[in-house]
């Protein structure tokens, strides 16, 4: 099992009301950004990653978002480059680079190759389409998002593996002299993992490419359904999927006492958490979704969007409204814990919950997710406890359940049964077991 941890690197020195009244982190004016505090935070987050190298984690996971206090990793590769040199052991897992928003995929191929070289071959790159708001923040045409994604992916792999110089002319990318001299250390190229919020199109694409799919803190039941979709698609491509094809990101806060962990875990809901990442009109810019996804949204958003009303109120007029929204946000905490969307507790008390998640999803890749505006010392305590106590216990469960990671079993290498019918990887029985 590959065990890593993740944090969004949020900037949380802003009034929570600024997010709540907009129902969105994206779009909060950057006049609220204090560069001194930002600098201190970015270094704190890097220090945590470096510290976790000593704690026995197999990997550190980074992501990238633009124009939002939700995540300061606007150029994740810069952080990855620092970690490539400052850590010795952990894999640097980038989930993922929003390739449709990168105007120059060749430059990205070179950046990643340098990170792989400097780290001594510890890079795991991954690709995402980018949230809708990312398209706006980078002025990347959302109607060509899928085309950019496919072409940039193919160009990066070609740049890494095809002897140069060669010419690249696709619909959107035109390079007449592709011959990068800095190539990845890992051959033929670094392993590629893909994170996501269980969009069926992406899940199927991953299965076709034999790329492990890492579900980002999604609800267990629909996640299991996506595992089945991946497994069926894998069978159509002639292989049996296994734990090595799947990963899961688990929000968690561990502390010395239940009470303290519970109190700090609430911070995941700061500003409404991921639910308020961005407003619908920014999350679903034109052409970003497939026709099928648009139809699903049509029924979802048809009713509240009456004449004279915007989808989400532009402004709330009184503090009472904000107080009510805030209450609604934090009232959701218990539900989130019950469904295991957030796990809190002591190293001992979190284990049955983690076991449940592992038994249901059987992922070969597992990432803890630590977030919210918690004090630095408490984050360090959480990390230390995760590393010293939770991680070894999770590793034992992984062994017991046979959760091979992509470095132990190459994704796509398991033979399919002679019948051609794949075996299910996750366990609905474990989910139903209560």
């Amino acid at each position: 099992m590959h065990i890593m941890w993740f944090t969004e690197r949020a900037y949380h020195y802003l009034p929570e009301e600024e997010v709540l009244k907009r129902r969105s982190f994206f779009g909060v004016p950057n006049s609220f950004f204090d560069a001194e505090k930002g600098s201190q935070l970015l270094n704190q987050y890097l220090d945590e990653k470096i510290y976790s190298d000593e704690l026995g984690f197999d990997g550190v996971m980074l992501n990238e978002h633009h124009g939002t206090p939700f995540c300061m990793g606007a150029v994740m590769d810069v952080e990855a480059a620092v970690l490539a040199r400052a850590t010795r052991r952990v894999r640097i897992v980038l989930l993922g680079n929003p390739i449709p928003t990168v105007a120059n995929p060749l430059r990205l191929a070179e950046e990643l190759a340098m990170i792989d070289m400097i780290s001594g071959g510890r890079l795991v790159p991954g690709w995402v389409r980018g949230a809708g708001s990312e398209q706006l923040a980078n002025n990347a045409n959302p109607a060509y998002n899928r085309e950019y994604f496919d072409e940039a992916h193919d160009l990066i792999l070609a740049a890494w593996t095809r002897p140069g110089p060669f010419r690249w002319e696709s619909k959107h990318f035109h390079f007449r002299f592709v011959n990068p001299w800095v190539l990845p250390l890992q051959k033929p190229h670094p392993p590629i993992w893909i994170p996501g919020l269980i969009s069926p199109e992406t899940v199927k694409w991953c299965a076709a490419h034999k790329y492990p799919y890492v579900a980002l803190a999604t609800m267990l039941k629909p996640t299991l359904e996506m595992w089945d979709l991946y497994t069926a698609e894998a069978a159509a491509h002639g292989y049996q999927a296994g734990p090595e094809n799947f990963g899961y990101l688990q929000p968690i806060f561990v502390h010395e006492t239940e009470e303290k962990a519970d109190e700090l875990g609430r911070n995941f809901l700061f500003g409404g958490g991921f639910a308020n990442f961005a407003r619908p009109e920014w999350m679903f810019p034109p052409g970003y979704n497939s026709k099928e996804a648009t139809r699903r949204l049509a029924s979802l958003y048809a009713n509240p969007n009456l004449p004279g009303k915007t989808l989400v109120p532009q402004h709330l007029h009184s503090m009472n409204d904000i107080a009510a929204i805030k209450k609604a946000v934090y009232d959701n905490y218990d539900t989130a814990k019950e469904s295991l969307q957030i796990i809190t507790g002591t190293p001992k008390s979190v284990m049955p919950k983690l076991r449940k998640v592992l038994e249901v999803l059987r992922p070969g890749i597992f990432s803890f997710w630590l977030d919210g505006p918690a004090p630095r010392a408490d984050r360090m305590t959480c990390l230390k406890l995760l590393g010293a106590e939770v991680l070894p216990a999770v590793r034992e469960i992984g062994k017991e359940l046979g959760l091979a990671d992509p470095f132990q079993v190459a994704p796509g290498s398991r033979p399919l049964a002679a019948s051609g019918r794949p075996e299910r990887v996750g366990s609905p029985e474990a989910l139903a077991a209560g």
């Binding site: 045409n141 034109p286 139809r295 949204l297 048809a302 969007n305």
Partner: protein, 263 residues
């Protein structure tokens, strides 16, 4: 809602099955719809259809006519329609273009003025406004954008006819199709061609009427004034207390202006 009989027909243009709404009688009049698609048959169409055969092609990718992936900008779309006009032997055809459709008409006029008899631009996109900015439809919902298109979205009867009541899933899907195709062809520069002020010198001998709402919040009046300045012999008519949709907001004045121009 229609007094005049109109129907949908299909014409083949290259590989594309172009859907066209046709109605009325007499000399053809080409109507190029805007960025949210053809909204529906209104008063002004009834009035003009008494003397003209109205041709309203539904742009490729806007839902009914399939997307043509080779069309990547408004000039490509203009070339598509030039072929359509030539093959249907419509030239020289009178044309009215609304917003994105106005930009489209301007691109076509720049490429070949002779394909048009007379041209009407209504709140046309296509130029970077010398003052103000073109409203960014891509950071809003379709509904929010429509509301901002007019001065009064609450009591205008024509607006209510088109967009009143609860938004249906079909409407949402149609608007998403329109927004997606508009993004494909007009994302950056947003809603204009950088060289348009210079290119407009190629429009010659084409009687042109430019219609604009004085309170247009989508394409500022300054763009209308620039069109007027750059298209030789053009006439600019503005409407008071009117936004981006004179046909909807000021139907009587709009019909009068067009009828007296087209003759």
């Amino acid at each position: 809602m229609a007094e005049t009989n109109h129907k949908e027909e299909t014409f083949r243009v290259g590989e594309t099955e172009l859907r066209v709404i046709k109605g009325g009688q007499g000399k053809p009049l080409l109507v190029l719809h805007g960025e949210l698609g053809f909204p529906g048959w209104l008063q002004w169409l009834d009035a003009l259809a008494k003397k003209r055969t109205i041709w309203i092609p539904l742009h490729p990718g806007f839902g009914k006519t399939p997307m043509a992936s080779w069309i990547m900008n408004v000039r490509d779309l203009g070339a598509f329609y030039s072929r359509f006009i030539r093959e249907q032997k419509l030239a020289p055809v009178d044309v009215i273009g609304f917003s994105l459709g106005g930009w489209l008409a301007a691109e076509m006029a720049v490429a070949n003025s002779a394909q048009f008899g007379k041209m009407v631009l209504v709140g046309a996109a296509g130029l970077k406004p010398p003052a103000g900015e073109i409203m960014d439809m891509f950071t809003m919902t379709a509904r929010g954008y429509l509301n901002a298109n007019v001065v009064d979205s609450r009591t205008n009867p024509e607006f209510a006819k088109l967009f009143g009541g609860e938004q249906t899933p079909e409407q949402f899907e149609a608007w998403e199709d329109a927004r997606a195709e508009t993004a494909r062809i007009a994302w950056a520069p947003y809603m204009y061609t950088q060289s348009m002020p210079e290119l407009l010198a190629n429009v010659s001998g084409l009687p042109t009427l430019i219609l604009w709402g004085k309170q247009d919040a989508v394409t500022p009046l300054s763009a209308g004034e620039l069109y007027h300045q750059k298209i030789a012999g053009s006439k600019l008519t503005t409407f008071d207390n009117c936004g981006h949709m004179p046909a909807v907001e000021k139907p009587a004045d709009f019909i009068k202006a067009i009828e007296s121009f087209l003759g």
